[in-house]
Symmetry: C2
Subunit: 133 residues, 2 copies
DNA sequence: AAAAACCACTTGCATTTCGCAAGCAGATAC
DNA sequence: GTATCTGCTTGCGAAATGCAAGTGGTTTTT
């Protein structure tokens, strides 16, 4: 079971994209490229394709601009949140601090259920605007 | 933060070793080799070294046999359990079933705190016997 | 006591993946 | 209609992976 999960998300990049989609409201190719980890364009295209094939991510063309695409998490993808949250908690406990996720970590500590609800609410707002087709 | 965590555990093999150490009471090189995922010997040696360098795993020579070594999780390593548990839950929800982790998953569902306590208790028993030096 | 087997690796080598830079087709902006 | 933006693809060297075989020490067998 662990092994099958790792075949999907067990690499350096996949969960970073999920993080961007989940916590940082990123939805476009160029936005993923702008993340501080500097993913290469070919790797990004490959991972987005795999995420779509696995049904974790969906894709539409931007409603007002044909040359742009919007990526979004399916519920299968959103349900990776607990894994990411546990990673953030572990990192906060054992790794030297980086500010990157600090805000989100503080919200985890204060009220994990509230964070979860707020993240999902925020995604649903976006979906209502962008996926209403 | 997520990125730093993934630099440590973001590959196909590292968390499988942690799983073996945590849930399957494996402690020896040959036992990891015997896992159904068939890790190659050089990769195994490499990952064990990295796990030791990161302080997730410790190592002793077998008390009754100089040619054998015993690997065990430090508390830093044990604290990866929540991540693995969330992976198992996600896999159970979305992946076709494999019997592999089924027993453990059922225990997660019935009583997560009890599972956690029992796993840690089991590791502590082992440690009392093997690490009493 | 010698030989065989076990154990934890290491080494060599072919294959796959990664990472970087450049290029490209289609759509939009000017 | 030229330049720019956007989401990719391509080429290529470097690194990681996977497999098979080998090594050095230890223990077991005979």
């Amino acid at each position: 079971m662990v092994s099958n999960v790792l075949e999907i998300i067990g690499d350096r990049w996949t969960l970073l994209l999920v993080r961007d989609l989940l916590f940082f409201n990123k939805h476009e190719y160029k936005e993923f490229l702008a993340s501080p980890e500097n993913i290469a364009t070919n790797i990004l295209a490959d991972r987005l394709k795999k995420l779509r094939n696995e049904g974790l991510v969906g894709e539409i063309t931007h409603p007002e601009n044909k040359s742009r695409k919007l990526y979004y998490l399916t519920s299968k993808g959103k349900d990776l949140m607990p894994i990411l949250v546990e990673m953030v908690k572990w990192g906060a406990a054992y790794l030297p601090e980086t500010k990157e996720m600090k805000l989100i970590f503080e919200r985890v500590q204060n009220n994990p259920e509230q964070l979860k609800a707020q993240v999902l609410e925020s995604l649903e707002q976006w979906e209502k605007q962008m996926l209403k087709a």
